[in-house]
């Protein structure tokens, strides 16, 4: 009896100790930094990568027996299960952010790199299906999520934007940079996402995002490794903690966003005047232009001009401008909305 009690006590202690470990999720601190390297060459040769500063390697095997089920996913081809003989391969990432956007560098070791590269021209080579699957949701609840599928050895990237393009959501494929480079012992991949694509959720107050990187290794039959959870399992992804920027850094992010928005607005407005030509009697609708569009363009232009030169904007002006960020950033959708309202009135006033 004593023995079994003692044994059960030990087992309970093990369970108590192991439970939090099991439930523990990965966290990574993403810091605002100056002079972040840009591009895969710059990152692969950077001091932080050479010295392993900020390196994240806590990947676990993709749940055995589940990778095969992913064959039912008609959208992408993944690597399948690990064979019994496969050796683990190191997968690592680094992340940082600045006023321009969010930087991710991934480095994947591959002992058979020479053989993999030699066989790459064969369209059936599993090396072509080597892949990273990058997921993130910018927040923890009621936020959209994004999936980027990268085949680093063939330089292909697929974007699965799980939202619908609108004034509140835009595809990553328009401005995201992804580039990969074979290295002596693997492959390096650089990803950059500008804040202008996800500006509503830029971490100007810091905060946690959900993030996962899954690596598929069909060439070596090494299966997959994950930083947290299965594909699309946003609640089990790791947490990316954007460390709160200083006031100065926050202002830099906002200033850049507002500048982007201001110049984007001017470009859209100029296009509407000179190319789409709403005021052109032949191909436009001068009445709509005169009554609805021109006053709105004038209003927003006057607002932007009142702040003076963008390089000289004060903190107070940036603060004021941020309240109108969407008006400037999404002026094309604003035009659609104005047009819809105008046509609705017109169509209900005629029989």
């Amino acid at each position: 009896m004593k023995t079994s009690l003692a044994l059960s006590g030990v087992l309970s202690a093990i369970l108590l100790l192991s439970a939090p470990l099991h439930a523990q999720e990965n966290r990574y601190a993403c810091k605002f930094e100056k002079d972040i390297p840009f591009g895969v060459s710059a990152w692969s040769q950077s001091e932080r990568v050479r010295k392993g500063i900020g390196k994240e390697v806590r990947f676990g095997p993709y749940k055995k027996g589940t990778a095969a089920d992913l064959a039912n996913d008609a959208l992408v081809i993944r690597g399948g299960e690990a064979s019994e003989k496969s050796d683990p391969r190191e997968t690592a990432f680094w992340q940082a952010y600045d006023d321009k956007g969010w930087y991710i560098y991934i480095e994947a070791k591959e002992p058979q790199i020479a053989d993999l590269l030699n066989r790459l021209p064969d369209p059936r080579s599993p090396g072509r299906a080597e892949a990273y699957e990058l997921f993130f949701s910018p927040g923890e609840r009621d936020v959209p999520y994004y999936q980027i599928f990268i085949n680093p050895y063939v330089g292909e990237t697929q974007y699965f934007d799980w939202g619908i393009p609108s004034a509140d959501y835009r595809s990553l494929k328009t401005e995201t940079k992804v580039e990969s480079l074979p290295l002596a012992d693997g492959v390096g991949t650089f990803v950059f996402i500008p804040w202008s694509l996800i500006y509503e959720r830029a971490p100007i107050e810091g905060g946690d995002w959900r993030f996962n990187l899954i690596r598929w290794m069909p060439f070596s039959k090494a299966g997959g490794v994950t930083w947290g959870g299965r594909v699309h399992e946003t609640g089990k992804f790791g947490k990316l903690n954007f460390q709160k920027p200083s006031q100065e850094q926050k202002l830099a992010i906002e200033r850049r966003l507002l500048k982007t928005a201001w110049f984007k607005f001017q470009a859209t407005a100029n296009t509407l005047r000179e190319y789409v030509s709403w005021d052109d009697a032949e191909v436009g609708d001068p009445e709509f232009y005169k009554k609805v569009l021109a006053p709105e363009i004038e209003r927003l232009t006057a607002m932007g001009n009142s702040w003076g030169e963008p390089e000289q904007w004060t903190a107070e002006q940036v603060k004021q401008g941020m309240a109108h960020l969407k008006d400037f950033m999404e002026f094309d959708y604003k035009v659609s909305s104005l047009r819809e309202h105008y046509l609705k009135q017109k169509l209900f006033s005629q029989e």
Binding site: K63, W162, S166, H232, E233, G235, L343, K344, L347
Partner: protein, 616 residues
């Protein structure tokens, strides 16, 4: 009101009394109750949760419809009260136009948008995260109490007969499958009183069915909000009936080619037979499914009765298989669906084995059986539908070895040169190895013009599925991707997977699924692929299903615009020709993957009306 309890008065007096009562204004709104009613765009990517502010509120106490004759058109509004209220009712009046024109109140179908819990990533993806649940608007209900939501446990309960059952649980905990064809689950036939929580939005969904013969013009009416006879608010309804009907959708690249609108798993009869559902009940359910499909523009559903399983599995009765096929075809015809050509689930193989693994005799015998079966299918279709324009199919998502089997066994169909084949495929998968056999490729993934060009090179058609699968609650997803984005990619149809998650006709005994439960289990992290939910009496509509209908309606408007431009080209009027071309350039250069589709719809209507004026 029971008329038998009225005093004995004349018919005229009774009618007068009833009319007076109908016109009698409701008692005034109770003091202190503040009701805010705002129109919102019906089809939108904005997830309208009760406690979240909405930044796209439109007119106050207004509701607008702009629709063609015969069209179903949705509109929506939010109600917000400063107090908890129970027993709130909405009552629609008739819509009145000029010169005595009337659209009956019955043509306004009012439902409550039910917000419930679905697995993580709801609203965005058909992949689910079973580790947590999120609130999401989805169901359109006449009686919102059909589903109860437990916020503390973040789970849903479905009313089955007189009690509620949890429909939020891991599949591993299920003991048996849920028989949606027999269980007493049903929505009300009319809008039931509902509750309002102080400070929360309640979304109301109104679908106007414009009569085919409605006179064009602007109609007005009201929907009143009442509680126990007290008027709480009023919505002014304005509907403009356009002076045309919408044509059937045609492809963007060729106005003479049909744009097929199909969806998987619309059949009821076979699973109902397997489950022992009485024949008349199965037929009633199938009839209701077809009615609903037609109302949502799905006019080319598959015939899902395959003779193969009845003829080649010894336990089955061929006569029964043939009877089910005939019944199904007759019901499709009765529902007014477009059955020419017929997309059939009949498979053009007799074995999964390659020829090399069969004796010559086995191969020849199997081939003759295949030939006879396809002959019987053709004869049956000819008998019921009067034609033999049929697309049959083969293995689902066939790999290389099965592609070779299809090719080998296809030789037995040489006597049927008009027989066509549709298949499921993925990018670059089948076009090189068996493209010469394929007439309609249903290809996984998002549409694009390069894929269309590959299949069009041989005259074959292309549709797609999994772009995305059903299950996503956001109506704008299906409006866009089943609608103009697909159409502009030169695709020939919509062919998605699937109407709802059905029990498998032969494997159901091993299944433990409940189609109402979003957690389907397994490790591929899919959610339940439902764009409508099945009940014994028919389908429960969803926001996504309404989005689907609007997507196809967008294509029908685009088809009409192209038809008008074509007429303008032939009209001899320079002004009309130029306007038609301007419209075509606008249609071509507008990016339907990103455009505001509500604005696009109005622009199409505006062009059509202006062209009509010039073509008079």
């Amino acid at each position: 009101m029971k008329i038998t309890h009225l005093p004995n008065i004349g018919v005229t007096a009774l009618a007068l009394l009833l009319a007076t009562q109908a016109r009698a204004p409701a008692a005034p709104k109770p003091a202190g109750v503040d009701i805010q009613i705002h129109e919102v765009p019906a089809i939108s990517s904005i997830k309208r949760l009760p406690d979240q502010p909405q930044r796209d509120l439109q007119g106050r106490n207004e509701l607008h419809f702009l629709a063609a004759k015969g069209e179903f058109e949705p509109a929506s509004f939010l109600i917000r009260s400063n107090e908890d209220l129970e027993g709130v009712e909405l009552k629609a009046g008739a819509l009145k136009g000029r010169k005595g024109a009337v659209i009956a109140a019955a043509n306004l179908d009012i439902k409550v948008v039910k917000v419930w819990y679905q697995d993580g990533t709801a609203w965005y993806s058909y992949f689910a995260d079973p580790s947590h649940r999120e609130r999401v608007p989805e169901l359109l209900l006449k009686d919102e109490t059909l589903v109860r939501v437990d916020d503390a446990r973040r789970e849903n309960l479905l009313r089955v007969g007189g009690s509620y059952q949890s429909i939020s649980y891991p599949l591993e905990e299920a003991k048996e499958f849920f028989n949606y064809l027999a269980e007493p689950v049903s929505d009300a036939s009319t809008l039931q009183p509902f509750g309002l929580k102080a400070g929360e939005n309640k979304q109301i969904w109104v679908t106007l069915r414009v009569p085919d013969d409605a006179a064009p013009g602007v109609y007005t009416g009201t929907i009143t909000l009442e509680q126990q006879g007290r008027k709480l608010g009023e919505v002014e309804v304005k509907a403009r009936v356009l002076p045309f009907e919408l044509p059937a959708p045609k492809t963007y690249y060729d106005l003479d080619k049909k744009f097929f609108v199909s969806i998987y798993q619309t059949g009821v009869l076979k699973i109902a037979d397997a489950l022992g559902i009485p024949e008349e009940e199965a037929i009633a359910m199938q009839r209701e499914v077809y009615r609903n499909l037609k109302a949502h523009n799905v006019v080319n559903p598959r015939s899902e009765s395959s003779l193969r399983v009845w003829f080649e599995e010894k336990t089955n009765d061929p006569a029964k298989g043939l009877k089910l096929l005939k019944t199904e075809l007759a019901l499709m015809k009765e529902a007014g669906l477009d059955t020419k050509p017929l997309l059939s689930c009949e498979s053009t193989y007799f074995s999964r084995k390659p020829k090399a693994e069969m004796s010559q005799e086995e191969f020849e015998t199997g081939g003759e059986s295949l030939k006879a079966r396809i002959g019987l299918l053709r004869d049956t279709v000819k008998e019921v539908l009067g034609h033999t324009d049929i697309y049959t199919t083969a293995f689902d998502e066939a790999g290389v070895s099965l592609i070779k089997v299809i090719r080998e066994q296809n030789q037995f169909l040489a006597d049927y040169p008009d027989l066509k084949m549709w298949i499921t495929t993925s990018r670059n998968k089948h076009s090189n190895m068996m493209g010469y056999l394929v007439d309609y490729a249903n290809q996984a993934g998002w549409p694009n013009r390069e894929e269309a060009a590959t299949w069009h090179a041989t005259g074959a058609k292309i549709a797609s599925y999994a772009s995305p699968h059903t299950g996503v609650e956001n109506p704008d997803v299906y409006r866009r991707w089943e609608g103009l984005a697909r159409y502009k990619a030169n695709y020939d149809g919509s062919f998605n997977y699937k109407l709802y998650t059905q029990l498998h006709p032969t494997l159901y005994k091993r299944q433990k699924a409940n189609t109402w439960n979003d957690s389907v289990g397994g490790s591929a992290t899919f959610r339940s692929f439902n764009i409508a939910y099945p009940t014994k009496g028919g389908l429960i509509d969803t926001l996504a299903w309404e989005g689907f209908r609007e997507g196809i309606d967008d294509i029908r408007y685009a088809t009409l615009l192209k038809q008008r431009a074509q007429a303008a080209e032939a009209s001899g009027s320079q002004e009309a020709r130029h306007l038609g071309r301007k419209a075509l350039i606008w249609l071509e250069t507008t990016n339907m993957e990103t455009a505001d589709l509500n604005a696009v719809r109005l622009e199409m209507i505006n062009y059509i009306l202006e062209l009509d004026n010039l073509l008079k």
